[in-house]
């Protein structure tokens, strides 16, 4: 039994999923976002053009096209590899080398539980009570790396480890600005960890499970027959609190005091050069994409397309589909819907960076402890009352 459960093919398949999810979705979108999101989108908000000069001249036919500036991130990667790696005098060499790894590790590992589409059913699908029931076939986990029953708990645990990356980076640099940035980031991240968890406790009470795939399946229900019960409709306050808390966790503007940009040079990653800086920046962008994916999963219906179930579109509560669709098309539509929702939250985060001025540090702490924490506790109490009484 154990033999077949952990056969070589099984491990090879897990490795393939890791490669596809991390290397083909999380990392490319994360690094493309350093270009398309941070530079091109910012430039379009600010009435300028953004980077458009890098050319892929080794590919014939593309030598003259600007390609929306995408070759710039390849050029940036090459530049980072060839730069000199400087470790400041008196810095703790071991921790200075480890800090980028500590920042990148949680950002990538936490992608293991995000479901890109529903579990694959090898038999036929019958839709009952707004769920796909798999008849005479077995359910295979093709679309998330690990279908953990404690998926959300895993996410919280791993993202709490990400505090270490910034703190150690700031301390190990033996510089005033880095230390200031590291301390600020530690305080900010652990403050918003609390309200992040508590705001999701309301969603947990309603869904009754920590399994992220089950949460998305539960969002397929139609309220009053026509309104898809996405998380944002049944927990709107938790959506705002969670989005703001996650933006504070990833130190994304307007909570970007630890990076400081105009105040303390670059905050905790001032003294990191070449590839270490690229790794830290990449970890920040991958975490930002992950925030988009998590918000899409819990609050925006994940891979659910409204009214789409395993065998086609059902408008209303009928067991037969009004527009039947082949199964592979349903899967493609679901993956596409997930990607669109993730990209929308990502776009929103980049817009908020240029919309809101940076918060002052006492305002950040005030918001985290005196406003978000009581609000998320109140949200939890009200949700629990409603669930018990109804």
């Amino acid at each position: 039994m154990i033999e077949s459960l952990y056969s070589n093919a099984h491990w090879a398949f897990i490795l393939l999923k890791i490669v596809v999810v991390v290397l083909a979705f999380a990392m490319p979108i994360g690094s493309l976002m350093t270009l398309l999101g941070d530079r091109k989108q910012s430039s379009m908000i600010q009435n300028r053009v953004g980077p458009n000069r890098a050319r892929l001249s080794i590919i014939p036919g593309l030598g003259k096209l600007p390609l929306v500036g995408i070759p710039h991130f390849l050029a940036d990667g090459l530049k980072m590899i060839f730069k000199e790696d400087v470790i400041p005098d008196g810095a703790n060499r071991f921790w200075h080398n480890m800090a980028p790894a500590l920042a990148l590790f949680p950002a990538i590992v936490v992608w293991a539980v995000i479901p890109f589409a529903d579990m694959y059913c090898t038999g036929t699908i019958v839709v009952q009570n707004y769920r796909d029931i798999c008849m005479d076939g077995e359910v295979r986990n093709y679309f998330s790396i690990a279908n953990l029953d404690a998926g959300l708990l895993y996410v919280f645990a791993i993202s709490s480890v990400s505090v270490y990356g910034a703190a150690i980076a700031g301390w190990a640099s033996n510089a005033k600005y880095s230390l200031l940035g590291g301390l600020r980031s530690t305080a900010q991240m652990i403050s918003y960890d609390v309200s992040m968890g508590l705001s999701l406790a309301g969603a947990l009470v309603i869904y009754g499970t920590l399994n992220l795939n089950e949460m998305v399946v539960a969002q397929g229900r139609l309220l009053w027959g026509w309104l898809p019960m996405w998380g944002i409709i049944i927990q709107p306050l938790a959506f705002f609190i969670f989005l703001a808390a996650m933006m504070a966790e990833t130190k994304r503007a307007p909570f970007d005091l630890p990076e400081g940009e105009s105040e303390i040079v670059a905050g905790y990653f001032t003294e990191f050069s070449s590839m270490k800086f690229a790794v830290i920046q990449l970890s920040e962008y991958v975490a930002t994409v992950f925030v988009g994916a998590l918000v899409a999963t819990i609050f925006l219906g994940g891979w659910q397309v409204p009214f789409l179930y395993g065998d086609g579109f059902h408008f209303g509560d009928s067991p037969e589909p009004h527009i039947p669709l082949p199964y592979w098309l349903v899967i493609v539509l679901r993956i596409g819907s997930f990607s669109i929702k993730t990209l929308f939250i990502l776009w929103l985060q980049f817009m908020l960076r240029w919309t809101l001025p940076r918060f002052r540090y006492d305002q950040v702490m005030n918001l985290g402890w005196k406003i978000f924490l009581p609000l998320s506790i109140a949200n939890l109490i009200v949700t629990a009352l409603i669930v018990t009484l109804l």
């Binding site: 379009m44 009435n47 817009m351 908020l352 919309t355 809101l356």
Partner: protein, 180 residues
């Protein structure tokens, strides 16, 4: 001397305003409007694509030097050393040689300007009595890969140059500051 104190009331903010949500929505509408406007039309974008599109320089813009020549094609410069003496950056190097024509006593055998050292002050143009050197070429000094590429010698300077109809002594002063 009594100090007058005036109490200024802080504006009362309602809970809705203080929750920052309407401000965020208003700000997002402004940035989104600019984003979608620049995504589909390019009306508001003020960037020019240099070097394909260049801005116009002013009329008296001082660029790379050029040596002017007489009607018969010889260089107008008589190697009087006025420009190299007045140059604050010591970037003009002239080696004089004797000219066969006795009314033109000297000519520069070698005339080298180090464009990297030049501070673009225009004093050499003002000092020259012969309208031999001008800075109205309208070309600014481009970046160089090697330092010795910045040493413009006589041939390079003459290439940019043009004929001048100024006459030694005062008649037909020529057109200072215009392109030919």
């Amino acid at each position: 001397m009594a100090v007058t104190v005036r109490q200024v009331e802080r504006p009362q903010r309602s809970l809705w305003v203080q929750s920052y949500v309407p401000e965020v929505v208003r700000g997002l509408s402004i940035t989104s409007k600019q984003f979608f406007r620049n995504l589909f039309t390019k009306k508001d974008v003020v960037t020019i694509q240099y070097p394909e599109v260049q801005r116009d320089y002013p009329e008296r813009y001082r660029g790379i030097h050029r040596l002017m020549y007489r009607e018969d094609g010889q260089v107008r410069c008589v190697a009087c050393m006025c420009c190299s003496t007045v140059c604050p950056a010591n970037c003009i190097h002239i080696v004089a040689a004797e000219h066969d024509d006795p009314s033109i006593e000297k000519y520069p055998a070698s005339f080298v300007i180090d464009e990297l050292r030049c501070i673009v002050c225009g004093l050499c143009v003002e000092a020259c009595p012969c309208d031999a050197i001008r800075m109205d070429s309208g070309i600014h000094a481009h970046p160089f890969y090697e330092r010795d590429q910045a040493f413009f010698d006589k041939n390079a300077l003459l290439e940019l140059g043009g004929p001048s109809i100024a006459v030694q002594g005062g008649q037909n002063k020529g057109h200072h500051g215009s392109h030919h």
